[in-house]
Amino acid sequence: MTEVPAVSTSPPEPAAVAPSAVIHDLGYRPYEGPRLGAGAVSWAFFVTGLRHCFGLGRSGRSKVLPMILLALMLLPALILVGVLVQAKDLLGLDEQIVAYSTYPMTTQLLISVFVAAQAPALISRDLRFRTITLYLARPLRRTTYVLVRVASLTAATFVLIGAPLLLMYLGGLLAELPAGRETGRFLGAAVGALLLAACLAGLSALTAALTVRRGLAVAAVIVVLLVSYTVVATIQGIAWDSGHDTVGEVAGLFSPYTLVNGVQVFLFDAPEATPTPPTGTAMGLLYLGTVAVLVLGSMAAMLGRYRTVTS
């Protein structure tokens, strides 16, 4: 195939000092093994992205923030479980001290900081350092790249939200709360955690894809999530006080945290964590529809954003 004369411009091997160096230098070996298809490649990409969200496989410094946040997420759950197991009879407890569906609401600052910091780490990073070129120059399709990146971020956020819930669930079983009821509530909360993760990941991934500068993306996501929740909570408080519940219910659509909590109230009859949860089927469906629009919309916007990216 290559009938190129072995021209003397090829340099001696750096190691070719000792006569035995030839034995150590194996020369170039072609790869004869299997080559996996799109599914396996996407899976490998997904797993690496998920690991990177927690700093695994990246520099030591990258691990600090996500690991601290994960620990802080678990800490209250651990304390709650401790209290439940130790003092269940003393306090006359027969259910979780904090409802599963309320826990993400209470810890939302940690969750917001996590997505705000890790979305740029996963998504702006490929654009800023132009690593995306290396992906696009490989068989992986552009659409797959985008969907898998968002999936990794969603899964990481789900782990962050779901881990304390799992801890509480196991603690509940240990404290001999009714197993059937706990399992049902926990599974409902797991669905809620997944929906919340998808909403937050979609929003923050889109923001990160539009802002190549990392600091800006982080700030934008935190501000949007905190401000939207504060505004929604304030409106809901006023609406409830003044008896205009419907206003509060509609307002609840505008923060991912109140939105997903409302969905859990509607779907699983979970205890409400907002003053004005959705009442009635129509409002419940509106909440569900909003989640769908948010997730699918941010995905569509992401795909649009990446359609023209070449390097």
Partner: protein, 316 residues
């Protein structure tokens, strides 16, 4: 079958035509892609990868149409971009393993291949450190390693010597040469320096303003455009005496910078050797010492200045 074939390949951007009706056939071995800034080198490479769609015309890489079968092309080709593309917070080792997996290698195989290619490109212990701390030379090596990890049949190297100091440049060129010869992988390597590519390429393609200016074996290229530089030792004015003597002998000699004499030569190897012999004889006849007699390495701009490749300025 050619490794790369294009027919009427055109890429228009709103303001410029980056590639203009390019008909190209590139075979095995090492092909240099030369052109000044903005000549369309990177655009051609991106079109060949299917990263950028062509406006008109077709391109086939290893038998696959890049427009309709881009994924097949990308699974067989390795690409080293001209720009930075490395994330700073992972190690070269982890990155290259990951990129191997992205080209379909199972994890264990990707690890083995990554270790192999990193050794071949000369990244030793530092491959376990985050890339953010690498020198430009080390980054270029890591970029090259990720282009090789999946054992491609063709690599597209876009200005691999960009930003390197002379020593690192020589190392990189030697590495490119080895990829084409020892590794048996076809290479398309771009540069804006002809002198650089003529050292490693079997074949050179010259682009100018998106058009194909010339495509031929490197040896032809040198013969058509090259010249010899002569430096002699002797009393002051020796270079002018030599120049005059050469002109008298019918050679188109002209003074060059730093007391050198430049003799443009055209023709095949035999003709060149004959000219070299006559220069040596003339130097000896004049009683001067011959310090050096070497090929002049052209910058691509020189080729253009001489009125297009292929024409040699004979009016000394």
């Amino acid at each position: 079958m050619h490794v790369i074939e294009t027919a009427g390949l055109t890429k228009r951007y709103p303001r410029v035509t980056a590639l203009d009706a390019l008909d190209l056939a590139v075979g095995d071995g090492i092909t240099g892609l030369v052109g000044a800034n903005g000549a369309g080198k990177s655009t051609l490479i991106k079109v060949l990868l299917g990263l950028v769609p062509a406006t008109h015309g077709t391109a086939r890489v290893l038998g696959h149409d890049v427009a309709t079968d881009g994924a097949a092309v990308r699974s067989l080709v390795g690409y080293m971009p001209e720009h930075d593309c490395l994330p700073p917070d992972v190690s070269a080792s982890d990155l290259v393993v990951h990129m191997g997996q992205m080209s379909g290698l199972p994890y264990a195989a990707a690890r083995e291949r990554a270790a192999d290619v990193l050794r071949h490109v000369g990244l030793a212990e530092e491959r376990y450190r985050p890339i953010g701390g690498y020198s430009t030379g080390m980054k270029q090596r890591a970029k090259l390693a990720q282009a090789l990890v999946h054992d491609p049949r063709l690599v597209l190297l876009d200005e691999p010597t960009n930003g390197l100091d002379p020593a690192a440049r020589d190392d990189m060129l030697a590495l490119v040469r080895r990829i084409g010869t020892d590794f048996g992988i076809a290479v398309l390597v771009s540069s804006h320096l002809l002198g650089e590519l003529e050292r490693v390429s079997d074949h050179v393609v010259v682009l100018d303003g998106g058009r194909l200016l010339r495509s031929s074996a490197t040896t032809d290229f040198l013969h058509a455009t090259g010249s010899l530089l002569v430096e002699v030792q002797g009393p002051a004015g020796s270079d002018r005496r030599l120049g005059q003597a050469l002109v008298d002998a019918g050679l188109p000699a002209r003074p060059a910078e730093g007391h050198l004499v430049e003799v443009p030569v055209a023709g095949d190897d035999a003709a060149r050797d004959a000219v070299r012999d006559r220069i040596r004889d003339t130097v000896v006849d004049l009683g001067l010492g011959l310090v050096r007699l070497q090929e002049r390495h052209h910058r691509i701009e020189d080729v253009f200045r001489d009125g297009g490749a292929g024409r040699v300025d004979q009016s000394a």
